[in-house]
Amino acid sequence: MATKIGIGFSEHPHPETAAKDAGFLSKTQLDEDKIDFSIVLSTTHYSPQKTLPILTNILNSSKLVGASTAGIILSDTVKTRGIAVITISSSEFDFGIGSVHGLKHQDSFQAGSHLAKNTLNNFSPRGRQGFLFFADPNILNYTQFLKGIQSIFGNILPIIGAGCSDNFRFQETFQLYQNEIFNNSAVGIILGGHMSIGLGSRHGWRPLGKPRFVDESDNNVIKTIDGKKASFIYKEFFSHEADEFLSNRLSTLSLLYPLGVYVEGSQEYLLKNTSILPDGSLTSQGNVPVGSRIHVMIGNKDSCRQAAYEAALEAQKNLMDKEPKLLLIIESMTRLKLLSRNAAHEIRKIKEVFGSSTPIIGMYSNGEVSPFQTIDRFKSPLLQNESIIVTALG
């Protein structure tokens, strides 16, 4: 036996039925009794308390992780409600899983290193090819969290991450680990064994206007830009429209015109969705250091589709001519909102690169982590928003 992959999906309104349908479908497609590894992706329409017991019972998988998502990406379509189950049975691939809890209250570096250690403990001594994690987005300090992971795995191992989402409610996400349901946690997966990983990541936004510089910041809070309150950057561009920021956490402005942070050594700007705090500061996921060169960024549906295409090309190139067995897409939920009815167009662009035979599964996340080229020797894992990460497992 080499590697077999099954994908099941259901959008049945009743959670128990949806879980049963998705589980059986995945298992039927897998066509193997033994399941080595499973991933469950579910929109928050379905209570995991109702779905997980059914899924664990059906799958009887040796290793299972899962996450809440704003939507599910399938080979032919995009669904904003439903449950997807990916089952893998393989003599080539190897997986290790782990979890860490209490992200809101724990030192982020420690949390990151705990997650990495826990996952490593569950992994057999075979070659590690990559690390994937699903985390609640309310991590105290994302930069430190990633450094904590790297403190265990080193700087070479590619790290891919997805922020779990609760369909734009920003209240409570969930993470699944074996037969347990967690909130405010992260679950990690070491991808290893005889596996190749091809990674590609893009967003498709371009800088607008003159560059501006961050004068004062505190971790993920940008306090002043060019000597003015940080929010002024949006007020300059949008005048009264910028007030929308105050009443809407993920406003249209933030989606359409994120901040782009210039990263030395990179061709792309690092994208950050921001919100305005009452004192006029801007807050984002991940740190923005003092001195950062920033721009308001602009993109459109075409540039999004093009970015998906380029990310797929990059992933294919990095796979080094190996045959892809599964495409795992982690894509920002803001892109789903932006592309709306045309969200599935990105899948078509990805299929233009990989063809139609490779199964595709993916989720819409709240924040994406992928290796980002900087002046450093190795690509560093960085958190950004509005991006698409194509991971090809071969």
Binding site: P13, L208, G209, L250, T252
Partner: protein
């Protein structure tokens, strides 16, 4: 020494002058460069600022386009879902099924996190028929709050659609509070008979706000639900009423069938009775007639003239009685189905001429003009010759009886589809509308001077009707007092049996 010293001083002086000139030159040159650089920097700043201004313009245009696109996308999504909902609910006539078809995925496609369709029951209590994104434990509180907040219900009853954009502050805060949403549309499900329920959709604080397009969309959805609901309920009403009517018809039909059976039984008993009595009467009558004839023949000895006269009367009355009894027997036989019509090919023209010949003396007595307007080539009829001739004789005899001297009797015949209609028209005294209705009843005699003077049984027309009907024909009469009367009856055209 002094000279060389002076020379050196001169040289030094010259060098100093030259260096200072050079330095001055350098200084001027550097200042020029700085000035040029400043100019370039100013230009660069200006370019950056221009770039920024252009960017602001681009961004504003782009934002407007994006908002228009977003609204368009939402509208398209909404319309698509609305079209699906409309198609699904308009193709069922079952209320339960109707609401079942408005499922969660369709409603989600319209683009709202929370949806509620609340419907009034027959006893005017609100119940939740569709509840999406609303926790079950909250439903009771929502329904109760709704029913207790009359100002909002009154506004909705007027047919107004309210939203977080246009609702008065009090209403807006009420809806936001009970449904725990920021943006909402609430629209009544209303018909000409009043409010049937309410459609609510809403989004939480972090979601997209409502637009005017959403108001229109939900208003259309509510309208569609109201139409479908009205159709469903109307259908249920009609269905129940039809079922009720069918049940009543079945009961009535059973009653009528039972009554008919009773009437038929009575009629059969009556016919059997008449038949038995008639037979019993006819035998002694034959004897009476026979003995009267024997006495009148003088074979038993001469009889005085007065006795002969009385015997002649006995004979005449006996004949009348025999005819009466025969008519009764015929009616009874036809009614009981015992007297089958022997339908044969019969010449109508011949039959009418025979009747004319038979009744010519009576016609002549009253100087009545006879008109026979029948096409000699008219089709033959399928008739029991003797029985149908009795009908014609009866009708013409009646016509003679009620037509004053010098009047006219005409007989016409015409083809109507597969039947021949024969009309016997006189210029007699006519029959009142009241009498026309009962003319074919047994023993019924019109109360007029002529009938008072001439004896009759009141069975002739009744018998004629039965004979015509036994030929699968119909008989009717039209009359105007003092103008005349027309009796019309139909008989089938004779058709050769297929070889």
């Amino acid at each position: 020494m002094e000279t060389s010293s002076n020379l050196l001083s001169l040289i030094g002086f010259c060098l100093l002058i030259s260096a200072s000139g050079f330095l001055t030159f350098l200084l001027i040159s550097r200042n020029d460069q700085i000035r040029q650089l400043k100019e370039i920097l100013t230009k660069l700043r200006k370019s950056f600022d221009d770039l920024d201004e252009q960017a602001k313009l681009i961004v504003k245009t782009d934002l407007e386009l994006n908002k228009a696109q977003e609204e368009l996308d939402r509208r398209l999504n909404g319309l698509d879902a609305l079209q699906k909902v409309s198609r699904l609910i308009s193709t069922t006539l079952d209320e339960e099924e109707m609401f079942k078809r408005i499922n969660q995925s369709l409603v989600t496609q319209v683009g709202f996190e929370k949806t509620a369709v609340l419907i009034y029951t027959e006893n005017r209590k609100l119940i939740g028929r569709i509840l999406i994104g609303i926790p079950t434990e909250e439903v009771k509180r929502i329904l109760s709050s709704f029913e207790n907040y009359q100002p909002l219900l009154s506004t909705l009853k007027e047919g107004q659609t309210l939203s977080s954009i246009n609702a008065p502050k009090q209403h807006r805060e009420f809806v936001q509070n009970i449904f725990n949403v920021e943006h909402f549309v609430i629209s009544p499900i209303i018909t000409q008979h009043g409010i049937l329920g309410i459609v609510f959709v809403g989004n939480s604080i972090n979601s997209f706000p409502i637009t005017e397009g959403d108001e229109e969309l939900i208003s259309i959805l509510a309208n569609q639900i109201s139409q479908s609901l009205e159709n469903v309920r109307l259908f249920e009403e009609v269905f129940l009423s039809t079922k009720n009517l069918e049940s009543k018809i079945q009961d009535r039909t059973k009653e009528l069938a039972s009554a008919l059976e009773q009437v038929q039984n009575v009629s059969r008993i009556k016919s059997e009775f008449i038949s038995a009595v008639s037979h019993e009467l006819r035998t002694p009558l034959t004897s009476i007639k026979g003995y009267a004839a024997l006495l009148m023949s003088g074979k038993l000895g001469d009889i005085p003239d007065q006795v002969r006269d009385r015997l002649a009367r006995i004979n005449t009355h006996s004949d009348n009685l025999v005819k009466f009894i025969n008519d009764l027997l015929d009616i009874a036989r036809i009614e009981s189905g015992k007297a089958e019509m022997n339908l044969t090919k019969t010449s109508l023209v011949q039959m009418i001429e025979n009747v004319h010949d038979l009744l010519t003396p009576q016609l002549q007595n009253k100087n009545i003009q006879w008109k026979m307007e029948i096409d000699p080539l008219i089709e033959d009829i399928a008739a029991d010759h003797n029985q149908l001739e009795r009908v014609v004789i009866n009708l013409v005899s009646n016509a003679i009886k009620f037509t004053p001297e010098g009047g006219t009797i005409s007989v016409k015949a015409q083809k109507i589809n597969d039947m021949i209609q024969i009309d016997v028209t006189d210029t007699g005294i006519g029959i009142s509308e009241k009498d026309v209705k009962r003319l074919f009843d047994e023993f019924y005699r019109v109360d007029n001077q002529i009938n008072q003077n001439l004896k009759g049984t009141g069975l002739g027309l009744s018998l004629a009707k039965k004979i015509v009907e036994a030929h699968n024909g119909k008989i009717k009469v039209t009359s105007q007092l003092n103008q005349g009367t027309t009796f019309s009856f139909t008989v089938p055209i004779y058709k050769e049996a297929p070889p």
